[in-house]
Amino acid sequence: MNPWLRGLIYAVVVINVFLTITAWSIWFERKFSGRMQSRLGPTFYGPMGLLQPVVDGIKLIQKEFLIPINADRLLFVIAPPLTVVLALGTAAVVPFGADIIAADLDIGVLYLLALGSLTIIPVWMSGWSSNNKYAMLGAMRAVAQGVSYEIPLVLASLVPVILAGSMSLSDIVRFQIKHGWFAFWPPGPGFFAFLFFLPASLAEANRIPFDIPEAESELIAGVSTEYTGMGFGLLYLAEYLHTLVISAVASVLFFGGWDGPFAPGLHWMVLKTLGLFAGIFWVRWSLVRFRSDQLMSICWRYLVPGGLILVMSAGLWVHFHRGSG
């Protein structure tokens, strides 16, 4: 297929699907958290409150977008759309089936990590440009947390790369179809890498329990304090999109992507992604937020050296199991 056309078709389809899932995941999360806390969650609009995301969208788009008088206007306006672009852009290299992929880059994992770590920049832009003390504190913490958790994230995603010997996401899945899912098969490195990957990527997406930049009980709303209307809406949307992309990437790297019996590959991929996504919500509503210094010490004291050990053990595994055979 013509690469321009392929990019366009996949972009329109994937972006639409992702945005739809994200919109209703907000409904799902509110319903889910409501039930966990013995509440009902949204009930007013539509059956079981199903129209809530639509109503929220209309509300947000009608609100006035205020730019504070002391703000850096340019950065303040482009930061929210930029977070969304970076969150959506990562979906380009995620394979949803044997040949259902927008762009099968041969350095897919590197592209993912690069775009993922770039999300720190719009978060910093939004915090700094607001010229608000809470936003500034949130942005500072966001950058410190983002760059710190970048290291365990890179090390954890290196493990599948070492085991499969390729950086293309679809090659990694094909390897897992042949040899078993990385979360289970090399007993050790793969599973622990998943355990490292999940918190590190949640920290990059600024999800609870790693939402220090937004800590509403300490910093009002952190980086999004000054944002009104759609600016806030996009920052919020980007967080959910990022979480969805993380679930998709985690199921590709550690749970065999589209691999599964009976049903077509796409179904399995969607099932795994949504399963992980729901799992992340479960974690979110079960745990409390970490303190800023606890967060940093978890990362630098345990995750970084642990990640290095994982990389070394994966290297040894490849050398002694695959190099000989």
Partner: protein, 120 residues
């Protein structure tokens, strides 16, 4: 140019167009407030009038963390290339990388003992 990169570029452009059009739509559809006082556009500071700019000096620990981050991130780039050629090079690559990671772990121990990574 590799064909996949063209698709990636198109994908990024489409998402940029989407994000920008949402902002523009919000601009057009947004209902502007009729009356603005001089406090409408000030930043939020718990209801008080904001005191000075927020672009202040920060604790140097943020700088130290960024410095250590650069160290480990550069290392990660080397690790990626190493991961791809590992099966071809065999034991030599393993030993080399263990030395490399070992030196970095020494650096990590040094940073930790100096308290560079302690946040109190």
């Amino acid at each position: 140019m590799n064909q996949a990169w063209i698709s990636t570029l198109v994908f990024l452009v489409v998402s940029a167009v989407l994000a920008a059009s949402v902002m523009i739509a919000a601009r057009i559809l947004g209902v502007a407030s009729k009356r603005r006082t001089k406090l409408t556009l000030t930043t939020y500071e718990c209801g008080e009038e904001p005191e000075g700019p927020a672009w202040l000096k920060f604790h140097p620990r943020y700088y130290v963390v960024a410095l250590v981050f650069v160290l480990f991130d550069v290392e990660a780039v080397f690790l990626f290339t190493w991961a791809l050629i590992l099966p071809d090079l065999g034991m030599l690559a393993i030993v080399d990388m263990f030395l490399f990671i070992g030196i970095l772990l020494l650096g990590w121990v040094f940073a930790l003992s100096k308290g560079a990574l302690r946040w109190q």
